[in-house]
């Protein structure tokens, strides 16, 4: 059978064999939790606790500011020891609430359970927002916003993203294997909140066990499990929609423009916790892997845990780390150090040593056309990058620079080691700066 997919893309060695078979372990509480106030796309939360205050697990420590924003919560009980800028995954020092856990790990008392099927869509959205649920695939877009399509946008399909196409990462895979009911419960709630009957779960064909299990528990429901060709970036939102529905999200548009909402499997599970138990999003599953770690693992980890603590939980470093990556190797961000904390968007921690890094000198473009063939946005990366590097901003925009999804396929495949996606990113920045000026 021919598997569904999108045109373009490529398949890097997926390196999932190091962690995919390992059951999720719970990472012990660290000595200090750094709760970043900016853990989502949109306005950062505003601290609402002070130094010296005692907080409970699940208590709001940062309040949402505006609609496209969510509150952040204490991920364990303890004392607030600082409210100050701390290292953030973005590389900057940003305002954070630092908590020293008291070891009791006591939940805040006012969490309320609810039956999702007795709640109206508005009430569901409010519980999801209050719990601080954001897209856990890495983009961290507030979930309640995606569940609030404006008037006139008719949503007919919910897509649940279980693709996990980034190499090394296996957190979503393990979640589907170990807690499929939680995922399924979340999907039912999302369907109810959106008022859609049709739901599709997309999973790459390299996870046959997850496909079989999800199919088994979805049997008899309106949820269809669809195996997808193993190809990066199959899990990119627009590519996933194209593969599953044949619809193309218009340039500059959103999935809701083609009647679709996409949610990650981890997000679905967080939605279930938020609605059923009122439980805020204070922990997630993250894969710790890469040749620089002794024992790759899938960890259930509290938000705010320093990366160094994850390393300790995985048997320590194997050799001197040369690159610390939060997320996957294709789209993750290099970190300044292991003192950076886990945030809601941390899908993985990868450690590479010097010898594992592709340190190649750039050479001239030989016009091989590989970047064009792999580009899922179907633009011509080499041409845009060349314009961008010569500050030909308008030309770069005309060539479709803003349509780039920054998946990195072009740079990955370039035999001349030209930093194509990096140059396109810069061009995008320059285009946006110019548009702001006008």
């Amino acid at each position: 059978m021919k598997l569904k997919t999108f045109p373009g893309g490529l398949h890097p060695p997926d390196n999932k064999q190091w962690s995919a078979h390992k059951p999720i372990e719970t990472c012990a509480l660290p000595e200090e939790l750094t709760i970043q106030l900016a853990q989502h796309i949109g306005a950062p939360a505003e601290a609402c606790v002070q130094k010296g205050e005692r907080v409970k697990r699940g208590q709001v420590v940062g309040q949402a500011k505006g609609f496209v924003s969510v509150p952040v919560h204490a991920s364990s009980s303890g004392e607030v020891v600082a409210v100050e800028p701390r290292p953030h995954p973005s590389g900057r020092r940003l305002p954070a609430v630092v908590i020293r856990p008291d070891g009791e790990d006591a939940w805040i008392e006012d969490l309320t359970a609810a039956d999702p099927h007795s709640l109206a869509p508005d009430a569901l959205r409010e519980r999801i927002r209050a719990a601080g649920v954001v897209g856990l695939g890495g983009a961290t877009f507030p979930t309640h916003v995606k569940l609030s399509p404006p008037e006139g946008k008719k949503i007919d399909t919910l897509i649940v993203n279980g693709v996990e196409c980034e190499p090394y990462l296996s957190a979503d895979h393990r979640l589907m294997l170990e807690e499929p009911e939680r995922v399924l419960d979340g999907i039912a709630i999302l369907q109810r909140a959106l008022g859609v009957a049709r739901a599709l779960i997309g999973i790459e064909a390299n996870k046959p066990d997850a496909i079989a299990l999800m199919r088994k528990i979805c049997a008899g429901s309106a949820i269809e499990v669809v195996p997808l060709q193993v190809k990066y970036p199959q899990g990119a939102e627009k590519q996933l929609i194209l593969a599953l529905t044949g619809r193309e999200v218009p340039s500059g548009g959103l999935p809701m423009d083609v009647g679709v909402v996409v949610q990650n499997v981890g997000t679905a599970a967080a939605v279930a916790d938020a609605v059923r138990r009122g439980q805020p999003l204070i922990e997630r599953i993250a894969t710790v892997a890469g040749p620089g770690i002794k024992e790759p693992k899938n960890l259930r980890v509290r938000v705010g845990t320093p990366l160094a603590h994850l390393v300790t939980c995985c048997g320590g470093l194997s050799g001197e780390p040369a690159k610390i990556i939060m997320g996957g190797p294709m789209m993750g961000a290099a970190q300044l150090g292991l003192d950076v904390p886990v945030t809601r968007g941390t899908s993985g921690l990868l450690l590479f040593r010097e010898q594992d890094l592709p340190l190649r000198l750039e050479s001239p473009c030989i016009r091989c056309g590989r970047c064009v063939r792999v580009c899922p946005a179907r633009i011509v990366p080499t041409a845009i990058a060349a314009c961008g590097r010569r500050d030909l901003i308008e030309e770069a925009a005309d060539l479709g620079a803003m349509d780039c999804i920054e998946c990195g396929c072009c740079t990955y495949t370039c035999p001349a080691a030209i930093p194509l996606v990096q140059a396109i990113r810069q061009a995008k920045g320059a285009i946006l700066a110019q548009r702001r000026k006008i």
């Binding site: 890097p12 990556i325 190797p329 294709m330 789209m331 473009c365 179907r378 990955y412």
Partner: protein, 329 residues
């Protein structure tokens, strides 16, 4: 934590293995069977041409870059590849100085004046071939029949199959009678011609290797050869006594070498799949037209160079349809 020695470059953090130098080396390996066949059929003179052209190209690249005060890129293998391709485009009994001048033209005028690898609009080896053909017509059209190693046969001057065809058609308006019966010889390379024109079999073998290594895509070879078959077939259908059948076109002259290795030169051909198809069709059409109606018996070099000139234009008009520019629904 030691944070001073961390790399902070942005994503992606991993890369595919194949780099430009590996691509060049792979194409060189792919050409080795063809080189071996030509040395077998034409003996030491062919080997001499291969060595002089390759060494000439590499030295010229090194000299040009030294003169310009630029770092040497001899190690990337592209100059050596140009040298081999140039040799394969020369008559096997070329004098050594012809190969050397060719090498200087290919690298100097064909490549380095444009800034080196990736900058040249025209295939350097073909630029050299055409310059030599126009400047030294006698040496460039003196062909010897094959004299396989250890066979005791002496090499005698003779015409290439395409040359025979052109002369006969010009003189009599008819194809020579026995011309089309020697397909087995043509396929293996038992005929007169440039080093690399001789063995379709050896060239195909190398192309399969490149295809397997993901270096060659099907677009240009298929569209080029397909167009030749169609257009040549059309003329053959019109008058089989005057126009040879498509198989004759495929197996003689520089078509295989051109379609598999020269037209597919990455630097001088379009970057998009659609562009490559247009490029291949153009090459095929021009090749047949020059062969049947032009002043030269062979048209592959001119066809490819003309299409090289059209490449920027083709690139401009064959951009893929960007994601998200169709009407939704």
């Amino acid at each position: 934590m030691a944070t001073s020695s961390l790399y902070l470059s942005s994503s992606p953090h991993i890369r595919a293995e194949q780099d430009s130098a590996q691509i060049m080396r792979a194409v060189i390996y792919a050409l080795l069977p063809a080189c071996a066949v030509s040395v077998y059929f034409f003996g030491p003179p062919a080997l001499m041409v291969l060595i002089v052209a390759t060494a000439g190209c590499v030295s010229c690249e090194w000299l040009c870059q030294r003169a310009m005060g630029r770092p040497s890129t001899v190690a990337d293998g592209s100059a050596a590849l140009t040298g081999i391709l140039l040799a394969l485009n020369l008559p096997p009994h070329s004098p050594w100085w012809l190969a050397l001048i060719g090498a200087a033209v290919a690298i100097g005028i064909g490549k380095q004046v444009y800034g080196g690898l990736g900058g040249n609009p025209f295939n350097p080896a073909l630029v050299a071939r055409v310059v030599l053909l126009i400047s030294f017509p006698v040496q460039m059209t003196t062909w010897h029949g094959p004299a396989p190693l250890l066979s005791g046969v002496d090499a005698v001057t003779t015409a290439t199959p395409l040359g025979e065809m052109k002369t006969a058609v010009m003189l009599t308006g008819q194809l020579p009678p026995d011309l089309q019966g020697r397909f087995g010889d043509y396929f293996l390379g038992h005929m007169a011609g440039s080093l690399g024109e001789v063995s379709a079999a050896a060239l195909l073998l190398g192309a399969l290797y490149l295809f397997w290594k993901n270096i060659l895509t099907w677009h240009i070879p298929v569209s080029y050869l397909g167009t030749v078959i169609l257009v040549a077939g059309l003329f053959w259908w019109i008058d089989p006594t005057r126009y040879p059948n498509p198989l004759f076109h495929l197996l003689t002259g520089g078509l295989m070498l051109g379609a598999l290795y020269m037209a597919t030169d990455m630097v001088t051909s379009p970057v998009t799949g659609r562009g490559m198809l247009i490029f291949g069709v153009g090459c095929g059409l021009l090749t047949v037209l020059i062969r049947l109606f032009g002043g030269y018996p062979e048209g592959v070099s001119f066809a490819i160079l003309l299409m090289n000139a059209a490449t920027p234009l083709i690139d401009r008009f064959s951009k893929p349809k960007k994601f998200g520019y169709v009407a939704p629904g």
